[in-house]
């Protein structure tokens, strides 16, 4: 048991006499490596009034596939697609006027003590994707870096990020305030792909992280990638000890993030195409149908929902049919709506909703009260069955109330 303590004491003595080197000495020895440069062929240092600004530039051809998506297809994205996916869609969207942005930071906590040490931006240029990675080689260079970055940001109409509304942009804003740079308004149009893609694929993915979307939507698998949670530590080791080995991996990680943003935009661009629908999963068809419906394109919505019904398993069929029934109801197409509800009953849909909806149609449209009454009884039975199985039950009392109301109405309509 005494061995480790003894070892520790010996180590301490050896350190004191300079026989082994401590962290600060390692740092000294690492300086020569740094003078060679991190990326000799790609790095640039620009002088600004506030000092030097370091960045690395690389290009990626747009004819390249990222997983299953051709990068070039992102140029096809139109404002009409975005109308389906955004709360505040732009009237006009020019993909080639976009700046793709992704930050690597010293932590996930928001707040003033978190730094953006690597600010990756990408844009289209002569058939290429040009990626520029602003890198904070030491804290005093932050101002120059931010000024250069801010100027770049102003050259574009659109900003494309992944969760940039909650994370990247507020962080940039904080850094600007701290450095006394008047926070320049970023491009008017901010396309946050996290929110867009969640609308379309929420129930198709195990989670809504970028990595999950790469894997499941782009069919792109990262290999040898550095895990995000290790990134801050890598930067600290670079600052404190001059270690650059893993830092280069962080640059690659960030580059991949940017390329994935472009590819995701390419995927989003295609969702309106008819061949997308043909290859889409039943859930995708159903989600797309609902999005079209919400946007007001009823005929497209019907096509998508039909597709979902044709391709899906029982559960997926029911979900699509249910949406279709509601759609017809909203359009006041009572017969079509009724046949959908009947279809659901026929499929053994659990729960009272189809009976209730059908009863409403019989009561108010077809004016067949006995049939409405019969269906309401069925609805109550369905809800009671569910309750016995330990689910539902909330509708029991409202249904009983509805039943009594119908019985009274029936009595007053045919006295005696």
């Amino acid at each position: 048991m005494t061995a480790p303590n003894q070892l520790q004491r010996r180590l301490q003595r050896m350190k004191d006499t300079g026989m082994i080197t401590s962290g600060s000495e390692l740092k000294k020895s690492a300086i020569c490596e740094e003078t060679l440069g991190l990326f000799p062929a790609e790095e640039k240092v620009e002088e600004t009034p506030s000092g030097n600004c370091f960045f690395r530039e690389t290009v990626v051809p747009l004819k390249k596939h990222h997983g299953g998506v051709l990068l070039e297809s992102s140029l096809e994205c139109t404002s009409s697609v975005l109308q389906l996916l955004m709360n505040d869609p732009p009237d006009d969207f020019q993909p080639y006027r976009s700046l793709f942005l992704d930050l690597e930071t010293t932590g996930l906590a928001c707040g003033t003590g978190t730094w953006a040490f690597l600010m990756g931006v990408g844009w289209f240029e002569n058939g290429l994707l040009r990626v520029r990675q602003y890198f904070l080689k030491s804290p005093p260079e932050e101002r120059a870096l931010l000024e250069h970055f801010t100027a770049t940001l102003q050259n574009f109409d659109n900003l494309v990020t992944f969760n940039g509304k909650s994370f990247d942009l507020p962080l940039v804003h904080t850094r600007q305030v701290l450095k006394g740079i008047s926070p320049v308004t970023s491009p008017d149009i901010h396309l946050d792909l996290f929110h867009c893609c969640r609308r379309m694929w929420k129930n198709c993915l195990p989670d809504c992280s970028l990595v999950s979307m790469e894997k499941n939507l782009l069919q792109f698998h990262r290999s040898g990638d550095i895990p995000g949670e290790e990134i801050p530590e890598v930067y600290f080791r670079y600052l404190r000890r001059g270690e650059t080995q893993q830092l280069k991996q962080v640059f690659e990680h960030n580059l991949l993030d940017i390329v994935s943003l472009v590819a995701l935009l390419g995927l989003v661009a295609k969702i309106e195409n008819i061949d997308f629908l043909e290859e889409a999963t039943p859930r995708e068809c159903c989600n797309l149908g609902i999005l079209h419906w919400k946007y007001g394109d009823i005929s497209r919505a019907e096509i998508c929902l039909q597709q979902a019904m044709e391709k899906g398993n029982r559960e997926e069929k029911n979900k699509a049919l249910y949406s279709l029934a509601l759609l017809h109801k909203q359009m006041r197409r009572w017969e079509k709506s009724a046949s959908c509800w009947e279809g659901l009953i026929h499929q053994g849909y659990p729960g009272p909703a189809p009976y209730v909806e059908l009863a409403k149609i019989y009561e108010h449209r077809i004016k067949n009260l006995p049939q409405a009454l019969r269906l309401t009884r069925e609805a109550l039975n369905a809800e009671l069955r569910r309750y016995q199985m330990g689910v539902g039950g909330k509708e029991i009392n409202p249904l009983k109330h509805r039943l009594r109301r119908l019985e009274a109405k029936l009595k007053s309509n045919c006295p005696g």
Binding site: G111, T112, P140, T174, F236, L239
Partner: protein
């Protein structure tokens, strides 16, 4: 009804014989001043509409001071219109300068709520647009951004400022750029650990204001303490003007000092204070006199509540009018009780000092204080709960057998003639300071030569850089860690960990309260009886790693009390004086171990059993004052006689120290060593019961003579023969002749 009871008590020999002082505080007329010239007409009109057509003299003095740009601390009793002292200048400024902002700080969420209601009423009356918002843990995320941009008056608490606002100051740019006033209400709360933290939060706040080029004026309000200006100036590290001439009126009040009768003269045993106040309170409540009963501990609340409920069980309708109130109750439970008191539906409330001040429960008829609250300041605050605008009110202080209580009840002049105690803070407590420097560096990088109040920052910044928390580059210290430091630091304790209490009685476990990490081994060890809402719970398991105590409802006829054994080692001497006796002040390491607990029967308070406690010892570094008797000073005393004297002395000194320092008796503890490892001499230690220390022991180092003189007085006036809990401690602990041996030591200390 109250008048009748007062008259009956005057003539009841069984009561009057226990009363050592019957003081009648006469009615006091109001002193007024007119509105200053500069008050804007619409504000003046709004105040007049609310029935305020002139100011009390202290209000006028306060608003004038603040208007001239000076920091002010206003010291006045409950219900003397102190909120106007800050609302008036703040609103006046916003009328003149629509962008101006103000920050209001209250020690707790509960305290801020009532003030906001009053403020909103006044704002509405003026008809001007003043956006007033509470920003705390309960504020919805959707409205937060609106508050940051548009809030003129942001009401919050130190904890939220510390972890929710300062670390995100860039989002609060509008507030900080235009911050004109900072209001700190209930300043007397900021003493000890909490105050030491707040002083550092203010250092951070001022640093951020400088960054945004604003220089706000501070307005502080405090209950009566001995050193309001000193405390304010320690918290702010700026000059502050004190305003303490109260111009508000009050009605006649009877103030009684009540000493429970002696039932065993030899052993110095008196009837329990708890039973006596139960008797007095029952009488008052039964007659419909709305009464608040204060007790010293959470346990006291629960014990008294169950006694009184038992007593009223046969009287239908009375039970619902009786409530307990203390820390550890959940917020909505508390809100309901406050509301019930205001409406008069609750006739009696048993409380700890959680209901001391600030929380609006209206004004009650009578107040029974069970056991001296530990300070003159606290006694005034608690008694201030009783007192309507007209008629009479009553406050009774029922002394316990503790030395401090007995001193007070036997020397009532001391209470009536002395100013209240000093509130102590230690902003440079090394643990607290270092933690806040981390937060400050997270907020803004430190430049070389930067200051942080009056704290010695350079060494600590270098240390943090060496520890790789900060990164030094370009003459600045930058935060370089993947963490959020404010989240790890609680302002309520030196360390941040609390143990939650989980009730396992029902299938669905529920959290019923919490205790701090250091108290957990004493209060919620396995088999301990924990009381909540008059219900007893037995602790089944204490999981210190998970910070959870699992309890189950039980019904037994006892409560539990644990024994603490303490070992102390001197780490460093800060100051020393070697005269006849040797006195020191320095840093010590305290190891505390709860080794066993006792079961104590209700009502008789006899010991009916005990059990072991198997918990790891806790270690704490803190500051201490110690005094040693050099060779030759204790000639003729045997080792065991010296030991007996030291035990008596430590009992007295730790109990009497609160006479001089505003704090809880728990804040200071005493340990004695017959042969101290430090200097081989008989030594008495008094240490701050908080990691890092909060300044008590340093003050004792200065005031030691007063304490030991008071101790000697206490022994002379105590009627017992050989020692009792009211002086040197019970004979079983101090030994026969304990009183004599203690006096021998005191002869050496103060000849």
């Amino acid at each position: 009804m109250l008048e009748e009871i007062i008259n009956q008590w005057k003539n009841d020999p069984e009561i009057i014989s226990n009363i050592s002082r019957w003081e009648i505080l006469p009615e006091k007329k109001a002193e007024y001043a007119s509105f200053p010239e500069w008050v804007e007409p619409q504000l003046k009109k709004a105040l007049q509409n609310r029935g305020i057509d002139k100011l009390y003299t202290h209000q006028a003095e306060a608003v004038e001071t603040v208007y001239r740009g000076n920091n002010a601390v206003v010291v006045t009793p409950t219900a003397s219109g102190k909120t106007l002292c800050y609302n008036l200048p703040v609103l006046n400024r916003i009328i003149n300068e629509p962008h101006a902002r103000a920050l209001y700080l209250f020690p707790t969420k509960a305290l801020s709520r009532d003030q906001v209601v009053e403020l909103l009423g006044l704002v509405e009356e003026t008809g001007i647009e003043v956006n007033t918002y509470t920003y705390d843990g309960d504020t919805g995320t959707s409205i937060r951004n609106h508050i940051r941009q548009k809030g003129h008056l942001v009401v919050t608490n130190p904890d939220m400022l510390h972890s929710g606002i300062l670390p995100h100051h860039t989002k609060w740019m509008r507030l900080f750029e235009n911050l004109r006033y900072i209001v700190i209400d209930e300043m007397h709360h900021y003493r000890g650990i909490f105050g030491s933290h707040l002083a550092n939060v203010i250092r951070r706040l001022k640093r951020i204001c400088r960054f945004y080029k604003s220089n706000p004026t501070f307005i502080l309000c405090s209950a009566t303490i001995a050193n309001p200006r000193e405390l304010a100036e320690t918290l702010l590290e700026e000059p502050v003007v004190e305003i303490s001439q109260n111009g508000a009126p009050h009605a006649q009040k009877h103030f009684l000092f009540y000493n429970p009768p002696v039932i065993n003269r030899e052993l110095g045993i008196r009837r329990s204070a708890m039973l006596e106040s139960q008797k007095l309170a029952a009488r008052l409540i039964q007659e419909g006199v709305q009464t608040i009963v204060f007790t010293r501990s959470r346990l006291g609340v629960e014990v008294l509540l169950s006694y009184l409920r038992e007593k009223f069980k046969s009287l239908p309708g009375h039970d619902s009018g009786l409530r307990g109130y203390r820390g550890g109750y959940l917020p909505n439970e508390r809100r309901a009780i406050e509301e019930g008191l205001r409406r008069g539906e609750i006739k009696g409330v048993i409380s700890t000092n959680a209901l001391e001040l600030g929380i609006d429960i209206g004004r009650l008829d009578a107040c029974v204080i069970t056991g001296y609250p530990g300070s003159i300041a606290g006694t005034w605050q608690q008694s201030g709960r009783a007192g309507r605008r007209t008629g009479q009110s009553l406050a009774v202080l029922v002394a316990s057998s503790a030395p401090l209580d007995q001193f007070m009840v036997n020397h009532p002049d001391y209470f009536w003639q002395n100013p209240p105690e000093k509130a102590m803070v230690n902003p440079d407590n090394l643990i607290i300071l270092t933690n806040h420097l981390r937060c400050a560096a997270f907020e803004l990088p430190f430049k070389e030569g930067d200051t942080f109040g009056n704290a010695p920052v350079q060494e600590i910044l270098d240390f943090l850089a060496e520890e790789e928390v900060l990164y030094r580059s370009g003459g600045q210290y930058h935060w370089m860690e993947n963490s959020f430091p404010a989240e790890e630091i609680s302002l309520r304790s030196a360390t941040s960990e609390n143990v939650v209490i989980v009730d396992n009685t029902e299938a669905q476990p529920r959290v019923i309260g919490e205790v701090d990490r250091f108290s957990a081994p004493m209060l919620v060890h396995e088999e301990a009886i924990y009381m909540h809402g008059g219900q007893q719970y037995q602790v089944e398991k204490l999981d210190l790693e998970e910070k959870k105590a699992y309890v189950r409802a039980v019904s037994v006829n006892y409560f539990t009390d644990s024994n603490l054994s303490v070992d102390l080692k001197v780490m460093e001497v800060f100051e020393e004086e070697k005269e006849k006796v040797h006195r020191h002040w320095g840093e010590v390491r305290v190891n505390a171990l709860v080794s066993m607990f006792k079961k104590i029967k209700f009502n008789t308070h006899e010991n009916i059993g005990s059990g072991p406690v198997n918990l790891p010892e806790t270690e704490m570094h803190t500051t201490a004052f110690w005094i040693s008797f050099p060779e030759g000073t204790l000639k003729g005393m045997s080792r065991s006689e010296v030991q007996s004297g030291l035990i008596g002395l430590s009992h007295l000194a730790s109990h009497l120290a609160p006479l001089f320092l505003l704090g809880d008796p728990r804040d200071m503890r005493a340990v004695s060593q017959v042969k101290s490892p430090f200097n081989e001499l008989p030594t008495l230690y008094l240490y701050d019961n908080y990691p890092g220390g909060v300044g008590y022991s340093q003050e004792l180092f200065k005031k030691w003579k007063e304490i030991f003189n008071t101790a000697r007085q206490r022994i002379y006036t105590c009627g017992c023969l050989e020692g009792c809990p009211s002086c040197v401690g019970p004979v079983e602990e101090v030994g026969e002749k304990g009183k004599e041996h203690t006096l021998q030591l005191l002869e050496v200390l103060c000849p």
